[in-house]
């Protein structure tokens, strides 16, 4: 599981759709689809299911997303601390 996969999954949840999430992430939809499929295979659970207007998390998926969301916050705290210099 990489940081990128975490960000992808959280963005899809937030957008409720692969298409919208792919725009937000500046990648194309098939790239996002395959990235999530790879993640689902790695962790051994299905995170999202299709709907006619996007995707929604499964029950297991909702729990997983909660876990990685809290983890991602810790990552951001460290990142912010060491990103400052570059943007000046």
């Amino acid at each position: 599981m990489t940081i990128k996969q975490v960000i992808y999954a959280l963005t899809i949840e937030e957008c409720g759709s692969m298409n919208k999430a792919s725009e937000k992430l500046y990648i194309v939809q098939p790239t996002l689809t395959s990235a999530i499929q790879e993640l689902e295979n790695e962790i051994g659970i299905k995170i999202f299911v299709r709907t006619p207007r996007g995707v929604k998390p499964t029950q297991e998926g909702t729990e997983f997303l909660g876990d990685i969301r809290s983890f991602y916050k810790h990552y951001n705290l460290v990142m912010q601390k060491y990103d400052g210099e570059k943007n000046t």
Copy 2:
């Protein structure tokens, strides 16, 4: 900053040497050197300095390593939860 870079940096600190760390990580020493150089460029600080028998963290490096160590613990907690099924 990727998880891999975090693991690499923490392993080098632990081993006190790029060579020993590369063995532990099952990669070769130049790969580790360039991975750390990339990380140092990204965060804008020098993490390690050479010694005749390996490397040691700089003052800034020591602080950075502390930050990522605590972050890495959170990552492992999530990982362990979703790794179980695969190893049975």
